[in-house]
């Protein structure tokens, strides 16, 4: 892959309910990313927006933010899915020979819609939707399957939540900044068993943007880029029940490709920090395995060992992850931003010392059907 990197990042603070409109949030994120990159909108060659019609309550959701995204008289397209896929597309466009720089921006206002109905609409209307299944109840089924298969316990899931909430306290952008204990998680309100309140990510409003540039475009920017060393995306099957929910072959295939591009053979050793999609606490254990950080079935061992804590060998989700702020769609882009800040040494109180190589991860579809990963480095 030709050289391509991230030269600017911007994100709004993530909050339960923001007063701004989508366009205003997008504008805030974009101006933030441009300021960070030290350029004006005229240095952006094309734009990719990320949004979703159901979440925005608006068909052609891309139409609403075109001006805020600075796409006047520029080529623009829209990915509807997690921000990590928007970043993939933005990167492809910067490598295509048509553009040198791409601005990718994602937004969502979780507070304006009904998450349960919106994610219920994700399921097939003919065979599954009428059962009322949604993101949380389907995730609960996956969590139970994982427990049955691997022996992981609700306390193991709680450990993830405790770690990430503790990390979120150091992240000024996080919505939830509150230290909790395993006991707090175990006693929290049952949502869909075994998932309890603190096992689930919150409803969030926010936006985030990144500026991607190929090597030729780099001369417009003063800061050193964070290079994209490898990137890949893969989707598994869809209908709930067809595939084995206790493993993630799609994630394994994606990282195989991305690690291959980045020359990584031992991710646990070679990566310095990981930002993954912990939409629900148990998912972090599943993704440990998919990312090759833990052997199959042994995700719980990794969290118990402390290796993924801030003072461990490979801190996972120093930002607090999605458990502290889950702006849907923005999620994966925010993970890329966090990984970028880590490598730049700009992560403030959540900085992992000497971070040089990072992995950012995003998912799409029920129970982590599709995965996208970016390996970033200095």
């Amino acid at each position: 892959m030709e050289k391509v990197g991230i030269v600017g990042v911007g994100q709004t603070k993530y909050e339960r309910k923001k007063e701004d409109t989508f366009a205003e949030l997008v504008f805030e994120a974009c101006t933030g990313a441009l300021a960070d990159a030290g350029v004006g909108i005229e240095d952006i060659d094309n734009v990719v927006t990320v949004s979703n019609d159901f979440w925005d309550g608006r068909t052609i959701s891309s139409m609403a933010v075109m001006d805020a995204a600075g796409s006047w008289d520029k080529d623009i397209s829209t990915v509807e899915g997690d921000g990590v896929f928007g970043a993939m597309y933005g990167m492809m466009r910067a490598l295509s020979g048509s553009f040198d720089t791409t601005l990718v921006v994602a937004h969502v206002k979780g507070s304006e819609g009904n998450m349960n109905l919106i994610t219920n609409a994700m399921f097939d209307p003919i065979f599954q939707r009428q059962l009322g299944i949604d993101a949380t109840s389907s995730a609960a089924l996956q969590a139970r399957s994982y427990m049955e298969k691997t022996g992981a316990t609700e306390e193991d899931f709680a450990r993830v939540s405790v770690k990430n909430h503790g990390n979120g306290v150091n992240n000024p952008f996080a919505q939830i900044q509150k230290k909790i204990s395993v006991d707090d998680v175990m006693k929290s309100r049952k949502i869909s068993e075994p998932l309890k309140l603190f096992d689930c990510s919150p409803i969030t409003d926010g936006a985030a943007a990144i500026v991607i540039s190929n090597e030729k475009g780099m001369k417009r920017f003063k800061k050193d880029p964070v290079w994209i060393l490898g990137a890949a995306h893969i989707s598994d099957s869809y209908t709930l029940g067809y595939r084995d929910l206790t493993s993630s072959p799609a994630l394994e295939a994606a990282v195989k490709k991305a690690y291959g591009m980045a020359g990584i053979t031992d991710p646990l050793k070679e990566l310095d920090v990981v930002e993954l999609a912990d939409v629900y606490s148990y998912m972090e254990l599943l993704w440990y395995e998919g990312l090759g950080l833990a052997p199959k079935g042994k995700g719980a061992d990794l969290i118990r060992s402390g290796a993924t804590a801030m003072d461990g060998d490979l801190p996972v989700n120093p930002s607090g992850g999605l458990l502290c702020a889950h702006p849907v769609l923005v999620a994966g882009l925010a993970r890329i931003i966090e990984a970028t800040l880590q490598i730049r040494g700009e992560a403030g109180d959540r900085q992992v010392k000497g971070a040089n190589k990072a992995l950012a991860h995003g998912i799409n579809g029920p129970c982590g059907q599709a995965h996208g990963v970016f390996v970033l480095g200095s």
């Binding site: 891309s62 990915v79 295509s96 099957s237 869809y238």
Partner: protein
Amino acid sequence: MGKRVAVVGFGQTIGRSSRKDVNGVEIINEAVVAALADAELTIDDIDAIVIGNMDHFEGINYVDSWSVEGSGGVMKPIFKVTTGGTTGSSVAMCAYYHAASGMFDRVLAIGWEKNSESDTTGAIITAFDPFWERPNIGGAIAGLAVEASKYMSNYGVTERDGARVAVRERLHALNNPYAHLHQEWMKGMEVDQLVELLVTSEQNQVLAYPLRMSDMCPRTDGAAAVVFASEDVAEKIAPIPAWVVATANRHDYVYLGDLNWDVNETLRDASRKVFEKAGIKEPLKEIDVCELYMPYSYAGLKWMENIGFCGPGEGPKLLWDGTTDMDGELPVNPSGGVMSYNAIGATALIRVGEAAIQVMRKAGTRQVQKDVNYALSTGFGGCSWADVMLLGKNKPA
């Protein structure tokens, strides 16, 4: 930097008012199977997939996830691109960029719609800002009627001019086995006679003046898929690949009220960009065939001007002179266009496919006879989103 990319395969389902025998996932599968057969490839040869669709038109959130079992996307890279009516062309452009980036060699672009299942107008209304425009919008037809009225008022264009465009589309569709609308009764009749019939018939209802039923596109159940391939493999797959010479798009408006009703500016600007990139100075002379995304008849006059095929107000002349007929200097919509087959999520992609097969000389009974060096395809959607793609016979320099 960047690979050259060509279209090497195209498949579509026959347009029908309603396909009750299949659900959405299954109709997508039909188009994919057809495209693979056309390119003589298997699903294993495909390196990545792009699909798109308007969620509220189908009542399905995360269409890329939902359709993966029919699109061949299981354990492949796939994501969704959606931009409204231009979804099909945006998906095509995305597949092009996948291959141009050097990261994927063979990429499948999929567009589809089961129009019979949805309330399209209801869904289109939700595209507009909930505070400022949604309460007043009358769906797509209203906006197009305003544009047509202004155009008629500016240049003295008449209902007969609009009807003449519709007649052309219908006659062209008779050559296209996939078209939804086959008005067989029009065969062998004189063009003038048909125009007269359309403007005087009482059954030809006026929907929103000046637009009659005959000026509008149908609602079709259909799906299409196009295979893009990088230069590393394109020539091994297709004897005459349709090379992507240049592509550009513009979307400069959020509010309907801001549009310039005299000129389709985004189409003008995107076309200009494409011609600039391709070194085209005289579009009418240099381009051999055009698949113009025309959701209604008057666009076939006004938008030809905005693209730059002729000057302002000259659209009708181009039409009545026969320039845009099959044996003219610039045949427009040999397929019969959107007015003959409108599965919204697929339509803009079908323009790309139809333009490609003209270059590839695989258009069968709707093949233009003359040499095709350049074929132009366009896409249109809300809010005046314009996609333009120029395909060519010769590998770009």
